[in-house]
C-alpha cells in the first residue's frame, strides 16, 4: 500500500477483514488493530520526510497458536524498539500529548522486533491466542 493516509486506512480494513476470517476475539482484534495503526502512523509521519513517496508491505499470518503481522517499508531507517521506555508523567502539566504510539505497540503486542534488511525497515509483531493481558504487567 502507499505510505500515506489512504494506504493506512486500506491496511486497517484489510487486517480487520483478515482478523474476522481468523476468528480473533474482540480483545485480540483490538490489539492487532491498535498496533498496526500505530506502526503505520509512525511510518507515514516519520518515514518519508521531504515529500518522498514510499510503499508499505504487510503480511499477516494466523494459526491456532497465534498470529504474526509483519510491516515492511522502504523509508528512512527507524527502529521503534530502540526508543527508551517512556516514563508516565505524574502531573498533567508535564504530559506530552504525542509519542505514545510506540509505548502502545510495546504494551499491546506480545512481542515486537525490528530489523533493517535490504534498505527496508521490517517490524514484526506477534500475539498468542488467549494471551491478552499477559506480559503487560496489568493482568488481574
Amino acid at each position: 500500500v502507499p505510505a500515506e493516509r489512504r494506504g493506512l486506512e486500506r491496511s486497517a480494513e484489510w487486517v480487520a477483514e483478515l482478523g474476522r476470517e481468523a476468528r480473533l476475539t474482540p480483545s485480540l482484534a483490538f490489539r492487532v488493530e491498535l498496533c498496526l495503526g500505530e506502526a503505520l502512523a509512525n511510518i507515514v509521519e516519520h518515514g518519508f520526510e521531504g515529500g518522498q513517496s514510499g510503499q508499505i508491505g504487510l503480511s499477516f499470518r494466523a494459526d491456532d497458536e497465534g498470529l504474526e503481522l509483519v510491516v515492511v517499508d522502504d523509508g528512512s531507517p527507524f527502529d521503534p524498539m530502540s526508543l527508551p521506555a517512556r516514563a508516565s508523567p505524574r502531573r498533567l502539566e508535564d504530559a506530552e500529548p504525542g509519542g505514545l504510539g510506540v509505548p502502545l505497540m510495546r504494551r499491546f503486542a506480545d512481542s515486537c522486533s525490528y530489523e533493517r534488511r535490504a534498505s527496508q525497515n521490517r517490524l514484526t509483531l506477534t500475539w498468542r491466542r488467549g494471551a491478552a493481558g499477559r506480559n503487560r504487567g496489568d493482568a488481574p
Binding site: 493516509r5 493506512l8 486506512e9 486497517a12 474482540p26 480483545s27 483490538f30 488493530e33 491498535l34 495503526g37 500505530e38 502512523a41 517512556r86 508516565s88 508523567p89 505524574r90 502531573r91 498533567l92 502539566e93 504530559a95 506530552e96 500529548p97 504525542g98 505514545l100 504510539g101 509505548p103 502502545l104 504494551r107 499491546f108 493481558g133 503487560r136 496489568d138
Partner: protein, 119 residues
C-alpha cells in the same frame, strides 16, 4: 465519529464521544472538542462509553484539551470507558493525570469537590 455536549449543572459540561477514536475519527471531532472545552467554566465530563476504539491520536486530543482547561483552573475527567479503552488509557498512565470514573455521578462530584478557578 460524533461528539455532542450539554450542560449538566453549574458550569459542568458533559461531552459525549461516540465511535472510533483513530486518526480519521479523531480528526472528525478534534475542532469541535476544543471549541466545546474553550467554553467550559467549571468542569468537563467526557463520556467515553460509546468510544469503541482508542489510538494514540485520540489520547493526544484528550491530553491537549485537559491541559488547556487546566491552565484555566478547570478540570476534565473521563467517565465509563469500555474495558479495552480503559486498558489503553491505563497502559500509558493517563489515569494518573486525567481522572477516570465509573459513573457520571462520581465524576460530577469530583469536579464539584475541586477548588473553583478564580473568575
Amino acid at each position: 465519529m460524533t461528539i455532542g455536549s450539554r450542560e449538566l449543572e453549574d458550569g459542568i459540561i458533559r461531552i459525549d464521544l461516540a465511535g472510533r477514536m483513530d486518526i480519521a475519527g479523531t480528526e472528525q471531532v478534534d475542532l469541535r472538542f476544543s471549541g466545546i472545552t474553550s467554553t467550559v467554566k467549571r468542569g468537563a465530563v467526557v463520556d467515553m462509553s460509546a468510544v469503541s476504539f482508542l489510538a494514540s491520536i485520540g489520547i493526544r486530543t484528550l491530553i491537549t484539551n485537559a491541559k488547556s482547561l487546566k491552565l484555566r483552573g478547570v478540570s476534565l475527567v473521563l467517565v465509563r470507558p469500555s474495558p479495552l479503552v480503559a486498558e489503553v488509557l491505563r497502559s500509558v498512565g493517563i489515569h494518573d493525570i486525567i481522572p477516570i470514573f465509573e459513573d457520571l455521578e462520581s465524576a460530577v462530584a469530583a469536579i464539584k469537590a475541586a477548588p473553583r478557578a478564580a473568575d
